[in-house]
């Protein structure tokens, strides 16, 4: 590995941090624009002018917004996300378990979805424009076009209610045996897989097909390599950059976009946590979750960028 690549990676990471800071400003500003303030939200119907003033003083709401922003940012950087105003619990502690659950679900959905999508993409290329290709593309696109709550309910109807293979609700808890936990997440992981499958599969197919038009693939074919070996040795490595990109985008979706699926399957992850607190107008929690989601999204995109750079010599040595 040469030093330009290190420099490139460092640049990407720096860019990511700047982006994250910008997002944090947006999140903070967004929650400030909301009508009413935290003190009003806490006191609700029983608010009197004095109690409002007292609570504002206590929460430091009388300070100008930029000072409060740096306060909040400083806390977040040192791992102190503040306390939830609705329950008084430390946000960082409650988020830890939830984030772990969300990552667990996303991980297993990805373990199924990513290889499946790539293999299906490869098969589709191998039999391109034939009935296999059309069948794979058709099914994958259909499953993506349905909203995820619909897919979730269909899975519940068949596999939980009719055949009773899996539980309808995915409540997991600490100390749950691994086997039971896997059984519990089978349906939500399945729903997520169906949602992200088509995007990755189609992208794999398109990227490889693109490469297949090039001269060196023709050469490989003329050398007498089998169709699969052409794809595996020559086409796939050259198509990997866009594939990494789409895989990372979908991984990010698996983590930050699962709100609906978590609610349907009653899965105790970040999405449910966010929904619970949004309905209570618990601004500190919403800010914290927003920041974490943004961080996940940005870092996965950085990884995608870096992956693409490493995989592509032309990006490694920019002119």
């Amino acid at each position: 590995m040469s030093s330009p690549i290190v420099k490139l990676i460092a640049q990407r990471i720096a860019l990511g941090i700047v982006l994250l800071l910008a997002v944090s400003v947006l999140i903070f500003a967004g929650t400030q624009i909301l009508p009413g303030d935290v003190a009003q939200a806490i006191l609700g119907q029983s608010a009197t002018p004095e109690s409002l003033a007292n609570l504002r003083e206590q929460l430091g709401l009388n300070q100008p917004a930029y000072i409060r922003y740096f306060h909040w940012l400083g806390g977040a950087l040192t791992g102190d996300l503040g306390t939830a105003m609705s329950s008084g619990q430390d946000i960082a502690t409650s988020i830890k378990g939830r984030l772990w659950n969300t990552l667990f679900l996303a991980f297993w959905a990805a373990v199924v979805a990513v290889p499946l999508a790539i293999i299906l993409g490869l098969i589709a290329v191998r039999y391109r424009n034939g009935w296999v290709d059309k069948l794979i593309s058709g099914l994958a696109l259909a499953s993506t076009s349905f909203p995820e709550f619909f897919i979730g309910y269909v899975l519940v109807f068949f596999f939980a209610v009719k055949y009773q293979w899996f539980p309808a609700i995915s409540t997991v808890y600490d100390g749950m045996p691994f086997g039971e936990r896997m059984q519990a997440i089978a349906l939500p992981a399945g729903a997520l897989t169906l949602v992200v499958l088509a995007h990755m599969m189609r992208m794999t197919r398109a990227a490889i097909l693109n490469v297949m038009q090039s001269a060196y693939v023709e050469t490989a074919e003329l050398k007498g390599l089998s169709a699969f070996n052409v794809i595996r040795k020559h086409a796939f490595p050259n198509a990997i950059a866009p594939i990494i990109n789409v895989v990372m985008l979908n991984l990010a979706y698996l983590i930050v976009g699962v709100v609906v699926v978590e609610v349907i399957f009653v899965y105790p992850g970040m999405g449910q946590y966010l929904v619970d607190h949004v309905t209570k107008r618990d601004v500190p929690v919403v800010q914290a979750v927003g920041l974490i989601f943004a961080a996940v999204y940005i870092s996965l995109n950085i990884i995608a960028d870096i992956g693409a750079i490493v995989a592509n010599p032309r990006l490694r040595h920019p002119k």
């Binding site: 329950s87 939980a160 309808a168 609700i169 946590y273 607190h277 618990d282």
Partner: protein, 528 residues
């Protein structure tokens, strides 16, 4: 009952015949399914409670923000879990009477101002300590303190002093109140060691289950407390578990799939579908909850009683009950009390009468349309109900204009602020509580702005009256006043609709709250 049927139902109760086979054979004998089901449940009751197993409930109404501090209970999940681990001073029984729990006896002075609670011997907390009069007094003190933010604070303010001496707690009230024992059955008033003053959310009381798991918004669990003082009546299952399932479809699926034994809040529109699922029983029963349209009596044009009467006569209650609640409810009569309250008296049912409505409308002299604000959150089906109202009123020549308000902020911006809107009430346990909360002049939640000094006096007089017959008459007169002159349009009382899965025994309908007043987990058992 034929001998054969009786024999068969006993076989089912003892587990030798499946429920399905029984229903099949009963049908062959010419018995209808509902009757056969009834036979079964009575046979199961006769068979007695079965000990053991884990009862699971899937419930709506839990958030990750819930606390174990009884003072802060608001939604269903913490409240129902509280009935598993908590023990009350006194509780309402399913037949509407009072059931003494930690208080063995409750006595009042003749003027209903001084009340004495005699504390039961040998009731034990989960931490091994015995429940004393001091604990009960401390509990009441904590809930009377502004700082506890207790949901029972409103009633507790009426207590002037709380004193524990020996085995007795003596309560002195600021004003006479014949309903005090009912107030003490408020679900917030779970007795805690030293009243919970040391650690309010410790989750320790003297109920049938000890807390083993507490993950707010996810699940709550308990195991049977071996030293529970009335273990023959409650705490049949070894373990109880509540899983929070706020999504209605997921809740139903969990019951069908057998992950839970009971659920709350089945939506009226899917009840008929759920009924057909084998093993599932719908448990619907009347309660004090009601859906309303409320007018401010002190705001034009609603300050005119003829206009209010016209609007009351222009609503088609039967149609609304059938279309919005699909029959799972009962007709309202424009006062907030029904048969689930003690001391209730029937009053002639008000009916849809476009001609009479037209007459009163003309007499009021009002002209132009009337703005009704509504929203999905006002009550389930509120928007549909408002549209039905608009149509039935149009037939009486009254033009109602609907404004659909966003659900967000409806309770802050519209309810109790705008002069005419849709809303709901969950009801209270006594008539006095209901009227004191929303119909006396000084009540914060007087959402009809019904400010009548004569009515306030009647409420106070009834509160202090110990003679039941006299009290009943007073409540009747108050109801007539609200019905004929108030700002309340009450088309229907809704029902609680719960559902249980196969094998759940011991269910008793309770009119006070859903899931047997919250006791379904503690009082039901799993049949073998």
């Amino acid at each position: 009952m034929s001998n054969e049927l009786e024999y068969l139902s006993r076989r089912v109760a003892s587990g030798k015949l499946s429920r399905r086979d029984f229903l099949g054979r009963a049908a062959a004998l010419g018995v209808t399914a509902p009757f056969a089901n009834m036979l079964l449940s009575s046979a199961a009751r006769a068979e007695g409670p079965v000990k053991g197993g884990t009862i699971k409930a899937g419930l709506v109404g839990g958030e990750s923000t819930n606390s174990l501090d009884p003072a802060l209970f608001m939604t269903q999940v913490p409240t129902i879990f509280g009935k598993c681990w908590g023990e009350m001073i006194v509780e309402l029984s399913p037949d509407g009477k009072l059931e003494n729990r930690i208080a063995e006896e409750i006595g009042a002075s003749d003027d209903a101002k001084v009340w004495t609670l005699k504390i039961r011997d040998g009731v034990e907390f989960h931490n091994g300590k015995t429940v004393t009069a001091e604990d009960v007094a401390a509990t009441l003190e904590r809930h009377s303190d502004e700082k506890s933010k207790s949901g029972a604070l409103g009633y507790m303010k009426g207590i002037e002093s709380i004193k524990a001496s020996g085995k007795e707690v003596v309560l002195t009230l600021k004003e006479a109140n014949a309903d005090l024992p009912y107030l003490l059955s408020d679900y917030h008033l779970i007795v805690q060691p030293n009243g919970g003053k040391d650690k309010a959310d410790a989750g320790i009381s003297a109920g049938p289950y000890k807390i083993t798991t507490n993950e707010p918004g996810v699940r709550h669990g308990g195991e049977r407390f071996a030293n529970y003082w009335q273990g023959d009546k409650m705490g049949h299952a070894d373990q109880v578990e509540i899983i929070v399932i706020n999504d209605a479809t997921a809740r139903t699926a969990a019951l069908q799939g057998g992950q839970v034994n009971m659920i709350n809040r089945v939506e009226p529109k899917i009840v008929d579908l759920i009924k057909r699922v084998p093993g599932v029983t719908i448990r619907n029963h009347a309660g004090p909850g009601h859906y309303v349209f409320i007018m401010h009596c002190n705001t034009a044009p609603f300050d005119n009683n003829d206009l209010r009467m016209a609007l009351k006569l222009a609503i088609d209650r039967e149609e609304m009950l059938n279309k919005v609640l699909r029959g799972y409810g009962s007709l309202g009569n424009d006062f907030p009390i029904n048969a689930s309250y003690p001391l209730f008296t029937e009053i002639e049912q008000r009916k849809y009468d476009p001609d009479k409505a037209k007459f009163h409308y003309k007499k009021s002299g009002h002209d132009g349309s009337i703005l009704l604000r509504t929203s999905d959150v006002a009550f389930p089906g509120a928007v549909d109900a408002s549209q039905l109202y608009q149509q039935s009123a149009a037939k009486a020549g009254i033009k109602i204009e609907l404004k659909r308000e966003p659900g967000d902020g409806y309770w802050n911006e519209v309810w109790n602020k705008q002069p005419f809107c849709a809303s709901y009430w969950g009801g209270r346990s006594t008539q006095d509580q209901m009227y004191s909360t929303a119909y006396i002049s000084t009540a914060d939640w007087n959402d009809t702005r019904f400010k009548r000094p004569d009515f306030d006096k009647m409420v106070l007089a009834a509160r202090a009256e110990l003679d039941e017959a006299k009290r009943k008459q007073m409540y009747h007169d108050m109801a007539v006043l609200v019905r004929d002159e108030g700002g309340l349009i009450l088309p229907m009382f809704n029902q609680f609709i719960d559902a249980t899965g196969a094998k759940v025994g011991g269910w008793v309908d309770d009119p006070h709250q859903e899931l047997m007043n919250g006791y379904a987990l503690a009082k039901c058992w799993l049949e073998a």
